[in-house]
Symmetry: C2
Subunit: 448 residues, 2 copies
């Protein structure tokens, strides 16, 4: 929406010329309209929303963030509520209801027609993160005895109520999936071709109870625009569309970033999350890691005599533990991400460990060599200390990378989340191991 339209919109609101406002906004994009509503004061947003025609209103509504939806719903009449809930696609209606305060949600649900209400209640039961929770019910179903021409005619008739009309599903009288045919195939075929001759009978599906990440993987693997969803009896109950899958992809990646940085994943965008909510997401893991840092301190305490005798030893601790932590994070990040995008599976366990071991030897050797040269220049008289630090560095890198490769796969093996179990722990584990190594080597090589 350009500045001119925006200014006109505000002027018409001021002058309460709602019919003109409706005309002004009729051609605007619903995503941009939603952004305009968000930017307006609540009362003005409500007035603007009411000026929109019914169908456009539903589209704009589904683009609004939860807080703005609540503002609109709270001020709507029962009739308006009924119109919104009927016009929304069922997945958007369910999202809205889940986010509204219970009393408002119930009022909204009461305004829906019985069949809509039944459908919404069914959708509300799919657990968060399941394919059922992101699918929508509106789709084009065809019979295999239809001709291409009849199928296109049907799409032209009922397509207005569907989120996705470009992939059609062929079902029998029991709603069992028999095949899939794209609008493209229908259009490119002669009018009298039967759907059965065009459809692909080996349909790739997801189940309502599958993890939503599976839908992402399947859609990406096959470059589909939508994926049919079946219940446990194999009956077609909905469809997952590519725009929803993209949202899931972005959310899942964000969640992995958060988990790997030792945070509980948050539902809302950063700027909309309160200070205490942010603090709560962060403090739990920091406490755990602080306690494990104390354990590392305990290990260090056992060598008090050593660094009281040679205080210089202490100054190499940050370099050793930081390098170990960084080397371990590199490996764990690659393995966690590889598993998340489906490039690495548990069957690759031995290959990953063997690869990390070899990489760590190469990387460790380079770092150790650079480090040795630098130490010999800086501390010309202390060859044995230089050697101690260098050996410890090499061993730390090898151990860090091996642990970094093994830990995420071990987490997966016991059905724990690799991002949350492995990433934040790597540094702590590697810290402890590298200190034990360092002082172990020092006690053998140095006069302690």
């Amino acid at each position: 929406m350009n500045k001119v339209v925006w200014n006109q919109c505000r002027a018409l609101l001021e002058e309460k010329r709602f019919r003109d406002l409706r005309e002004l906004l009729a051609g605007e994009n619903e995503v941009e309209l939603a952004e305009v509503l968000e930017a307006l004061a609540p009362e003005q947003a409500i007035l603007t929303f009411r000026s929109l025609p019914k169908e456009q209103a539903a589209e704009v509504f589904s683009q609004l963030p939860p807080e703005s939806r609540e503002v609109i719903v709270s001020s709507a009449t029962d009739q308006e509520l009924g119109e919104i809930v009927e016009e929304l696609f069922v997945d958007d209606a369910v999202d809205t209801l889940e986010e509204l305060p219970a009393n408002v949600a119930n009022r909204m649900l009461r305004q829906a027609r019985p069949e809509t209400r039944r459908l919404i209640n069914q959708f509300l039961q799919y657990p968060d993160g399941s394919v059922g929770s992101i699918m929508t019910a509106e789709l084009i179903d065809l019979k295999k005895t239809d001709t291409a021409g009849a199928a296109i005619a049907r799409i032209r008739r009922v397509g207005g109520d569907c989120e996705s009309i470009y992939t059609c599903y062929v079902t029998d009288s029991q709603r069992m999936l028999e095949g899939v045919v794209s609008l493209r195939q229908l259009l490119l075929a002669a009018d009298d071709t039967p759907v059965e001759a065009l459809m692909d009978p080996s349909v790739i599906t997801a189940r309502t109870t599958d993890d939503q990440e599976r839908a992402v993987e399947t859609l990406m693997r096959y470059d589909f625009l939508s994926l049919p969803v079946v219940d446990k009896e194999g009956r077609l109950v909905g469809v997952v569309t590519v725009d929803d899958v993209m949202d899931v992809m972005e959310e899942e990646a964000t969640e992995d970033f958060e988990k790997m940085a030792a945070m509980a994943p948050s539902e809302k965008p950063y700027l909309k999350t309160g200070v205490f909510a942010l603090a709560k997401h962060r403090v739990a893991w920091l406490l755990v890691l602080m306690v494990s840092g104390m354990l590392t301190g305990g290990i260090l305490g056992r060598y008090e005599a050593a660094f009281a005798a040679i205080p210089l030893l202490v100054t190499f601790i940050p370099m050793l533990t930081d390098t170990g932590g960084n080397a371990g994070s590199q490996s764990s990040t690659l393995v966690i991400r590889g598993m998340a995008v489906g490039e690495i599976s548990l069957a690759d366990f031995p290959r990953v460990v063997w690869k990390e071991l070899r990489v760590s030897v190469v990387v460790g050797a380079v770092l150790a060599a650079v480090n040795l040269v630098r130490l010999l220049i800086q501390y010309p008289g202390s060859q044995m200390i230089c050697l101690t630090v260098t050996i410890a560095l090499f061993a730390t890198v090898v151990i860090a990378k091996t642990v970094g490769g093994v830990l995420p796969m071990a987490a997966k093996l016991i059905h724990a989340d690799p991002a949350i179990m492995a990433a934040p722990l790597i540094t702590t584990i590697v810290d402890a191991l590298s200190l034990i190594l360092y002082f172990g080597i020092a006690q053998r090589l140095l006069p302690l």
Copy 2:
């Protein structure tokens, strides 16, 4: 593809019954066929590929990884090469040519028709990571004077050569974009409706030279299936489709994971990258961070007298630096990811800093309190040491979170990559600061 088909396929290959093989594979999904080719020995893969009908062959080819493409291309006759390059969508042809050894690529390009060659050469010039490099040239263009019926007829005629037929673009005689209309709108309208009445004249576009991440953002924001691409004169030159954008999303997230874990991003999947390539991606940052770890060690060296006097002080170092590093990474990760998905912009700088400051006070207070209680129990006689560690911990968390919030935005401000500039450095910077703080406080509070 099921096991039965797979076994039949291998049997037919053994018996060299290629015509039967062609029939067997005719109905199979091209993504799965590509996976089958990858799993076969090279000679068998070539034979199988040759049994496929021309169009299916091109689709399977575009799904193959670079190594397998090279095997196929190297063994193909000039005529076969010409058929492949003509059947491929131009973006897939360009990808293939970029990955092939120069002599093979040139041989392939020579077999293309002059107009295809001209188009490919133009596409080869778009820099890696630009919108131009991921777009395809084949699209449906309409004139605004067409009727919906005529437009549908045109789509049915030429749609077979287009990657995406569901969004059509309206251009004038100079190929300047005048509007966009979806196949859905065309189908739902009466046959005699002019395209001009249906099209949306305010088209959202990308430029060939835009960063590909911009295409991702736009497509996600508007839930489009494709995005038109214009050159700097505003002429329509191609279209970016949602499946390509999903690949970009996944690549960009993977790159950010790699950069934030202090690695150079890699082009190939982990299991297909060699040991030395992996080592090379990792060693550069580790060297940089090792050197900065040495600087931290140098800081620590200045306080040798302090920890020679009270060796207990040393045992708290891992807990302090680890907690600081973790607290800082939490903040930088949220800000980097927020900027990557477009939730946080540079204009939010003051809000982010203010938010991080408040969060850090809450988090720091909780950690400090837990820590103080534990220290007082464990070291009942050393109240001043307990107090020193506790104050240092609180200050470390506050500084770590502030630096973690500021650094990525500062990187963005000077047009550096926040993921690469901020994430790996946080730990090192925070380490140094927390040690200076810790010993600074110790020197004031303790008899040193």
